[in-house]
């Protein structure tokens, strides 16, 4: 099985769970012997890239590739996974309309072409050259790279890569890569699977960005199969995007085991001071419910004093949340660490007595699995996909801050609760491996290929 996979980020340069998920999934697919070509945007080093966080594994290396030419990386532990990056400047412009028109022209040519690799390639190359020119042209006209243009630019480059590749199925992760998926499917005739890690309704509540919604909807309807990370997400796809239920399969995420099954048991007991630590780890943004964490923290602090609340992460609500903590008069009890990576994440997990994920809407949520992997008890909102797979955790409605505080206090106050949660939680999370997810993806591919 050869998979042409379209992604937006890949570790170690990630801004959230998507990169982690892509890494875990491709690694497990690799172990199962599937061949994966993974395409990520590769921004050239630019100080103008702040508006969008998309990074590639090669970002730190000197760039020698001619713009538009593919660069290929093979990671040592991923023998069958080839990472392809697209040398696209972040300020790439091409209007969606232009791109769509171009795809249509290409499609018109397609029936006359018997061997695509010979004949369509020049056509694509011609188009892309035009695009490049156009980009330069537009770039001079107006500045201000926007996400949509970048998404379509990525799509164009993906098509160029795809024509030279041999694969059975296209697998696109989240809306940024759906246009690329549609384009590659149109040009190559291969089936498209889209993998929904989150929807616009999760990120923005009811105030959705219409443009993104449209891209998502188009991707979902163009796909042969949709993979949702939870039933929660599957329901959103069916009810909000008008997709037939039979088309949507649920594949839960997994978690990568830290080290060789080495756990960090009882790391807190008797070692550190008597101050308890309650951890929030995630983007500080509406979707993750940081304000509910603070409101619960205030209630907890009314009952007990020897506890600190650590908020690890950054996000658009960071300043508001810091101010809110100060207004509540609990500023000295809430610590902000900023965005944490690698060893720092490990360290903060080791210090924590409880991990809280108060998400307002969480399609899945890998972080609780990581916390359990580190032997930390977990409290998650019922509005999360991961609540469907975890039983040995505490669950609460995100808006019920009273109950959230009640449960936080219980974990800190009653040691047997912490002990039982750790014991069973760590055991349970061992069953949630990426290998299961990769196998299920494989079955989804098979089901499409058999139908065709």
């Amino acid at each position: 099985m050869k998979v042409f996979m379209l992604g937006w980020e890949f570790p170690p340069y990630i801004s959230g769970g998507l990169g982690t998920a892509c890494h875990g999934l491709t690694k497990a697919m690799n172990d199962l012997g599937m061949e994966v070509t993974f395409v990520v945007p590769k921004p050239i080093e630019s100080n103008l890239s702040a508006h969008v966080k998309m990074l590639s594994p090669l970002q730190c290396r000197p760039l020698d590739s001619v713009p538009g030419k593919k660069a290929t990386t093979e990671l040592p532990d991923l023998k069958n996974v080839t990472i392809k990056t697209i040398g696209s400047p972040l300020e790439a412009y091409t209007t969606p309309q232009y791109y769509e028109q171009k795809i249509e022209e290409l499609l018109k040519q397609r029936p006359n072409i018997s061997d695509p690799s010979d004949d369509i390639e020049p056509a694509v190359e011609k188009w892309l050259r035009e695009t490049d020119e156009q980009i330069e042209h537009i770039a001079h006209e107006h500045y201000g790279g926007d996400m949509y243009s970048e998404v379509h630019r990525y799509a164009a480059s993906a098509v160029r890569l795809a024509i030279r590749e041999n694969f059975d199925v296209i697998h696109a992760h989240d809306w940024m890569t759906y246009p690329a998926g549609i384009a590659v499917a149109s040009v190559t005739g291969k089936p498209l699977v889209i993998h929904v890690h989150s929807t616009e309704f999760d990120r923005s509540g009811e105030h959705i960005n219409q443009m993104i919604y449209d891209i998502e909807r188009r991707g979902m309807h163009a796909a042969s199969k949709i993979i949702a990370v939870s039933y929660l997400t599957r329901n959103i796809i069916i009810t909000r995007y008008g997709v037939l239920g039979e088309k949507v399969e649920v594949v839960y995420n997994g978690v990568e085991q830290n080290g060789d099954g080495r756990t960090l048991p009882f790391n807190k007991i008797g070692i550190q001071s008597d101050e308890k630590i309650v951890l929030f780890l995630g983007r500080i943004t509406m979707q993750k419910g940081p304000e509910y964490f603070l409101m619960a923290a205030r209630k907890v602090l009314e009952e007990m004093d020897n506890v600190k609340f650590v908020m690890a992460g950054t996000g658009d609500m960071m300043h508001r949340i810091i101010e809110m903590a100060a207004q509540m008069g609990i500023g000295h009890k809430v610590l902000f660490t900023g965005f944490l990576r690698g060893k720092d994440v490990e360290k903060i997990y080791q210090m924590a007595d409880l991990y809280v994920m108060p998400s307002v809407s969480e399609p899945f949520g890998i972080a609780p699995l990581e916390a359990l992997n580190y032997d930390i008890p977990v409290l998650i909102s019922k509005q999360s996909g991961v609540a469907e797979v975890l039983t040995h955790v505490l669950k609460v409605d995100f808006w019920d801050v009273n109950e959230m505080a009640n449960k936080i206090i219980a974990v800190l106050k009653y040691p047997p609760l912490q002990l039982t949660l750790r014991e069973h939680g760590n055991f349970e999370v061992r069953r949630l491996r990426w290998s299961g997810a990769a196998e299920k993806c494989g079955k989804v591919y098979q089901s499409i290929l058999q139908k065709n």
Binding site: E303, V393, K395, A410, Y414, L417, T420, E423
Partner: protein
């Protein structure tokens, strides 16, 4: 001769209401939920079953006998929520074909933690049974049929009981049959009645199981199995939860019509009869000693305590409950004592069981909690409040601690 001995366990706990660490109210129990569950089960099980069995007893003119163990807690609930059930039990008691068995009033695990409290609760239960039905229980069953040699010793020392009912677990019987009367080691007087779990579970668990090769179970078929005991056993002890009729096995499974026909089918064989537990021990001598050095119960396949003591939350909560025994009793406050005793009901600890939680199963029955963790948190919050109330009762209105009586 096969004497069939039916014993039905009747119990519902006082479930706790949702109680957070911020609550200060001294009302711990969910009146609404307890009332509605009690009424629901009464309508589906207790009332129709009582009427049916009463009818069978009258129809067979005293040849059908049964026994009940009614906990003090369920009797309180009947009185409070559905007194009509009380009158049907009165009618059953008046037939003279019904025996009432002794147990702990609060359906508690006190035997494991406090011998004094254990005996106090048995006495309280006996008083209630005497008062309601004019019988003094001669046979004892412990909560969830929890039993060991040392329980037999404790009960024998009380001097009131002649027999104990427990599980006929394979590992205590070896290749012996549960269809005889046994006795504990080092006792001449005390007898043991062991549950025939195979035949009991055929009714209680397998009756409506379509995957079971004996499905459907008819009265004729079951009577044949009873007949087979003739010649190699004295008694067949069919012990089960009363909720089997109408709740665990719904009415549409045919369980009621099965029970209505079973007695006459069994009595078709001239050597068969029905006996109450007391009649069994008066009629048959103990054939052998059954040695139970380690505690057993009738729960799950393990037949051990793991359903109530299987994780740190359960052992922690139980330990914490009995840790305040002295404190509660020192207050000499009846209300506090009653609240503390209600917290001892084994169901509270059963809800905290994580054993089969991930699979979802029997443990969920009537379980008011979404997870064992929620039940533990709720229980501990209530217990903390009770402890505070006890401590406060030693403080006078000026905030001065009173001298504790010892």
């Amino acid at each position: 001769m096969s004497s069939v001995c039916f014993y039905f366990q009747v119990h519902q706990p006082f479930r706790l209401r949702h109680y957070t660490v911020f609550d200060r109210s001294p009302r711990y129990f969910d009146e609404f939920k307890n009332a509605s569950i009690c009424r629901k089960v009464a309508n589906k099980c207790y009332l129709p079953s009582n009427r049916l069995l009463l009818d069978v007893i009258r129809r067979l003119e005293g040849r059908f006998k049964i026994s009940y163990s009614l906990t003090g807690v369920i009797l309180e609930q009947f009185k409070k929520y559905c007194p009509e059930v009380m009158s049907t039990f009165d009618a059953l008691a008046e037939t003279g074909c019904v025996e009432f068995i002794g147990e702990t009033y609060y359906h508690s695990l006190s035997f494991l933690y406090s011998p004094d409290e254990f005996i106090a609760q048995i006495n309280k239960h006996t008083e209630l049974i005497q008062q309601l039905y004019g019988q003094t229980p001669r046979v004892f069953r412990n909560t969830e049929l929890i039993y060991s040699n040392s329980l037999a010793e404790t009960i024998e020392k009380m001097g009131r009981f002649d027999a104990i009912i427990t599980e006929g677990a394979d590992h205590i019987l070896g290749n012996r049959s549960s269809n005889f009367v046994y006795r504990p080691p080092n006792s001449e007087h005390m007898k043991l009645l062991l549950k025939n779990y195979s035949l009991s579970d055929d009714i209680a668990f397998r009756f409506s199981n379509r995957g079971w090769q004996e499905f459907p179970l008819t009265a004729e078929k079951f009577a044949k199995w009873i007949n087979r005991v003739n010649g190699n056993g004295h008694c067949v002890n069919l012990f089960m939860d009363y909720e089997t009729f109408g709740e665990h096995q719904w009415e549409d499974t045919g369980i009621f019509s099965f029970m209505s026909h079973l007695p006459q089918e069994i009595l078709k064989h001239p050597d068969n009869c029905f006996m109450t537990p007391s009649e069994i021990i008066d009629s048959y001598d103990a054939v052998d000693v059954v040695d139970v050095p380690h505690i057993i119960s009738w729960a799950d396949i393990e037949r051990d305590l793991s359903a109530w003591l299987g994780n740190p939350m359960q052992s922690g909560a139980l330990h914490d409950v009995y840790k305040i025994e002295k404190l509660v009793k020192q207050t000499q406050n009846e209300e506090l004592l009653a609240d503390w005793r209600q917290l001892q009901t084994s169901d509270h600890f059963y809800y905290m069981c994580t054993k089969y939680f991930a699979d979802g199963d029997v443990h969920k029955y009537f379980n008011p909690y979404e997870s064992p963790y929620d039940s533990y948190i709720n229980f501990m919050n209530v217990l903390s409040n009770l402890k505070e109330r006890c401590s406060e009762s030693f403080v006078n209105h000026n905030g001065q601690p009173l001298r504790k009586s010892s």
